[in-house]
C-alpha cells in the first residue's frame, strides 16, 4: 500500500488532480487566512493601537511578554485549567459513555440529554452557573450539604475559580460522550467473551480490551480538547469578566485569551495582543506535536496503518 511516490507522468497527473480538489481551501487560505495571519505576525512587531497605524518596535512586544507578570500568570492559569479539564472531561465522558453502553435502547434519550448543553448559548450558561455554583446559596453546595460536605465558595474563592471553570466546561462534553459510546459499541464481543473464559476480571478487561480498542477515539478527543482548553475564552469571560462582574475579577481566573482580549480591545494594545497570540500558537503547536508523537506510539489501530 505504501508505495513511494515516484515522479512520472502518472504522478504528475495525480498531483494536478489533487490540487484541483484542494484548490478551494488554498484560495480561501490565501485570500482570507494567510494574509491576516501574516498581518497579525507583522503587527506583533508594532505598537498598533487599532486607532493609529502601527509603528515598528522590533522585539519590544515580545520583551514585554517576558516582563509582564500577568502574561505568565494567565498562561499558568490556562495550563492549570487545561490540566484539570482535559483528564477530568475525558474520564467523566468515558464514564458516562460506559454507563450508557449498558443501557441499550434508552441510550438515544440520554444522548440527546447530554448533547443539549452544547446547544445552550454560552452567555445563558454562564449566568446560570454563577447561580448554581454560588458558595452560599447555590444548588451545588446545597446538594453537597446533604452529604455533610461544606462546599467552598466556588465563584469567589480564588483557589476554586479554575475548578469552577472546569465544572462549567464539563457540562459540554456531550459530543465526546457520544463518540466514546460509539467506540465502545464497536468493540467486538468476542474479545470480552474470550477474556471472561480466561477468567479476567472487569478491571483487567477494561485495561486490556476496552482501552486499547477505543484508543483512537481517545486520541482524537484529547487532542481537540487540549487545543480548545488552551484557547478557552467564553466561559471565563461570561462568568468573571463581563461588564457586570469585571470589577471583582481575581487574577486567579485570568486565562490567557481573556488577557489577550483585554489588551486588544480595552487597553488598545493590539500589537502586544498579536504577540501574545503568536506565542500561544507556538505553544499549542508544540503540545500537539508531542501528543501526536505519543499517540502514534500508544494508539492501537485495528486495520493496517499505511503511512
Amino acid at each position: 500500500m505504501a508505495d513511494r511516490v515516484r515522479p512520472g507522468r502518472l504522478q504528475r497527473r495525480e498531483a494536478r488532480a489533487a490540487y484541483i480538489f484542494i484548490a478551494p481551501w488554498i484560495i480561501g487560505f490565501l485570500v482570507f487566512t494567510a494574509g491576516p495571519m501574516v498581518a497579525s505576525l507583522w503587527l506583533s512587531f508594532t505598537d498598533y493601537s487599532l486607532v493609529e497605524p502601527g509603528h515598528p518596535v522590533g522585539m519590544a512586544n515580545y520583551q514585554q511578554l517576558l516582563d509582564d507578570p500577568r502574561v505568565g500568570k494567565s498562561l499558568a492559569n490556562t495550563f492549570t485549567y487545561a490540566a484539570m479539564f482535559v483528564p477530568l472531561g475525558t474520564v467523566v465522558a468515558l464514564g458516562l459513555a460506559m454507563l450508557l453502553h449498558r443501557v441499550g435502547r434508552a441510550a438515544g434519550f440520554f444522548r440527546t440529554v447530554f448533547y443539549l448543553p452544547v446547544m445552550t448559548p454560552a452567555v445563558a450558561a454562564g449566568a446560570m452557573f454563577l447561580l448554581l455554583l454560588n458558595g452560599q446559596r447555590g444548588l451545588l453546595n446545597q446538594v453537597l450539604g446533604w452529604f455533610g460536605v461544606t462546599g467552598p465558595n466556588w465563584t469567589t474563592d480564588p483557589a476554586w475559580l479554575k475548578p469552577s471553570l472546569a465544572i462549567v466546561s464539563l457540562w459540554t462534553v456531550g459530543g465526546s460522550i457520544i463518540i466514546y459510546l460509539a467506540a465502545l459499541n464497536n468493540v467486538p464481543r468476542q474479545l470480552y467473551e474470550a477474556a471472561l473464559l480466561d477468567g479476567a476480571g472487569p478491571i483487567r478487561r477494561f485495561w486490556s480490551i476496552t482501552l486499547p480498542m477505543i484508543s483512537g477515539a481517545l486520541f482524537f478527543t484529547i487532542i481537540t480538547h487540549t487545543i480548545a482548553a488552551m484557547q478557552m475564552f467564553d466561559q471565563a469571560y461570561t462568568m468573571f469578566y463581563g461588564p457586570q462582574q469585571k470589577a471583582t475579577a481575581s487574577d486567579e481566573s485570568l486565562v490567557y485569551m481573556v488577557y489577550l482580549f483585554q489588551n486588544a480591545f480595552e487597553f488598545f494594545k493590539m500589537g502586544f495582543a498579536s504577540a501574545m497570540a503568536w506565542v500561544l500558537f507556538l505553544i499549542i503547536l508544540v503540545i500537539t506535536v508531542v501528543q501526536v508523537r505519543l499517540g502514534n506510539r500508544f494508539v492501537y489501530y485495528e486495520g493496517d496503518s499505511p503511512r
Binding site: A18, V31, P36, L100, M119, P121, V123, A125, F261, S305
Partner: protein
C-alpha cells in the same frame, strides 16, 4: 508532526453498507450483562439519573425563568409561582423576531451547506491522492486552527470592507465556501477509512476523479456529511461575533444579534426586564434544539460510524 496520520481503519464489518453502519454491532451490550448485574443496574440508573438532572437543569431553569414575571425570575423556584406567557408576546413585539429567525435560518443553512461540500471536496484531495506536498499542506491546514481568531479578525474585516460587503450577510457564511480546517480533518479521516480497492476498481472501469468523489466517497460517508452539517448549523446559528461586527441594519440581523438588542434594551438599562431576556434567549435557542431532535437519528448514528473507524 507526522501528518501522514494513519487513516482511521475500517471496522471489522465493511462500512459499504450504510444500513449496517446505522446499527451498532451487538457487542458487550445489555443482553449479556443484565442477568449478571442486577444491583449494579440500579446503581447505573441512579448515576444516569443524577447526570441527566445535572445536564438538563440549566436548560429547565431557563425555560422556567422565561415564564416568570419580572419579580420572580431569580427566586430559586423551578416551577414558576405565576405563569406569565405574555413574556413571549413581548419578545415578539420587541423587534422583528420572525425576520431574525428567518435570517439565522438562511445564513446557517448556507454556511452549513457550503462548508459541508467544500470541506468534503478538499478532504478528498488530501485523503485519496498521493503527492509530494500532501504532508506539509495538511499540516498547514491544521495549523490554521491554532492561531486565536481575535487577532486575525480585523484584517479579515478589512478584506470584506475592500470588497464592499460590510453590512451584508455575506461575510457570515462566504468563508465556508473554501472549507474549514476542523471539518476537513474530520472528513479526511473518514475518507481514509474507505478501502482503496473500491476506488481502484472504479478507476479501472474508467471513472474520473470527480466520479470517485461523487459516486463512492460521498455516499459511503453520508453520516459524516450530516455530522459536519449539523455541527456547522449549530455553530453558525449561535454565532454572535460575526453579526455584531459586520451587520449594522436591523433587518439583516441574525437571532443572536437580535437577542443582544433585546437584552440590552430591556434588561440592562431602564427597566431591567430579565424575564423578557430569558424568554428571548429561549426563543433564540429552541429552533436549534428542535432541529437536533429531529436529525438526531442520522446525526448520532453518523457520529457512531465516525468513531467506529477510530
Amino acid at each position: 508532526m507526522s501528518v501522514e496520520t494513519r487513516p482511521l481503519p475500517p471496522s471489522t464489518e465493511p462500512p459499504a453498507d450504510p444500513d449496517l453502519a446505522a446499527r451498532p454491532l451487538p457487542t458487550s451490550g445489555p443482553a449479556r450483562d443484565r442477568r449478571r448485574l442486577g444491583p449494579g443496574a440500579v446503581l447505573r440508573w441512579l448515576l444516569l439519573l443524577v447526570a441527566t438532572i445535572a445536564f438538563t437543569y440549566p436548560l429547565i431553569w431557563l425555560v422556567s425563568a422565561s415564564l416568570k414575571p419580572k419579580s420572580q425570575v431569580f427566586d430559586n423556584r423551578l416551577v414558576p409561582e405565576t405563569f406569565q406567557w405574555s413574556n413571549f408576546v413581548q419578545v415578539w413585539d420587541a423587534g422583528p423576531v420572525l425576520r431574525w429567525l428567518f435570517n439565522s435560518g438562511v445564513v446557517s443553512l448556507m454556511a452549513a451547506v457550503a462548508v459541508t461540500f467544500s470541506s468534503a471536496f478538499v478532504a478528498f484531495g488530501f485523503a485519496y491522492f498521493r503527492f509530494r506536498l500532501r504532508g506539509p499542506l495538511f499540516g498547514l491546514v491544521l495549523a490554521t486552527m491554532m492561531l486565536p481568531g481575535a487577532v486575525t479578525m480585523i484584517p479579515v474585516y478589512l478584506i470584506w470592507h475592500q470588497l464592499g460587503l460590510i453590512d451584508t450577510q455575506v461575510p457570515l457564511w462566504a468563508n465556508n465556501l473554501f472549507g474549514s480546517a476542523f471539518y476537513i480533518f474530520l472528513m479526511r479521516q473518514f475518507f481514509l477509512g474507505i478501502p482503496r480497492e473500491l476506488f481502484e476498481a472504479a478507476r479501472i472501469d474508467g471513472c474520473s476523479h470527480l466520479g470517485l468523489f461523487r459516486r463512492i466517497a460521498l455516499p459511503l460517508c453520508r453520516p459524516a456529511l450530516i455530522i459536519v452539517f449539523i455541527f456547522e448549523l449549530q455553530a453558525s446559528w449561535s454565532d454572535l461575533l460575526k453579526p455584531l461586527i459586520y451587520l449594522q441594519t436591523e433587518e439583516y440581523f441574525t437571532m443572536p444579534r437580535g437577542l443582544k438588542q433585546i437584552v440590552d434594551g430591556f434588561a440592562l438599562s431602564g427597566e431591567y426586564h430579565w424575564e423578557i431576556a430569558m424568554a428571548a434567549t429561549l426563543v433564540a435557542t429552541l429552533p436549534m434544539i428542535v432541529v437536533f431532535a429531529f436529525c438526531q437519528r442520522y446525526f448520532l448514528e453518523g457520529l457512531a460510524t465516525t468513531a467506529r473507524q477510530g
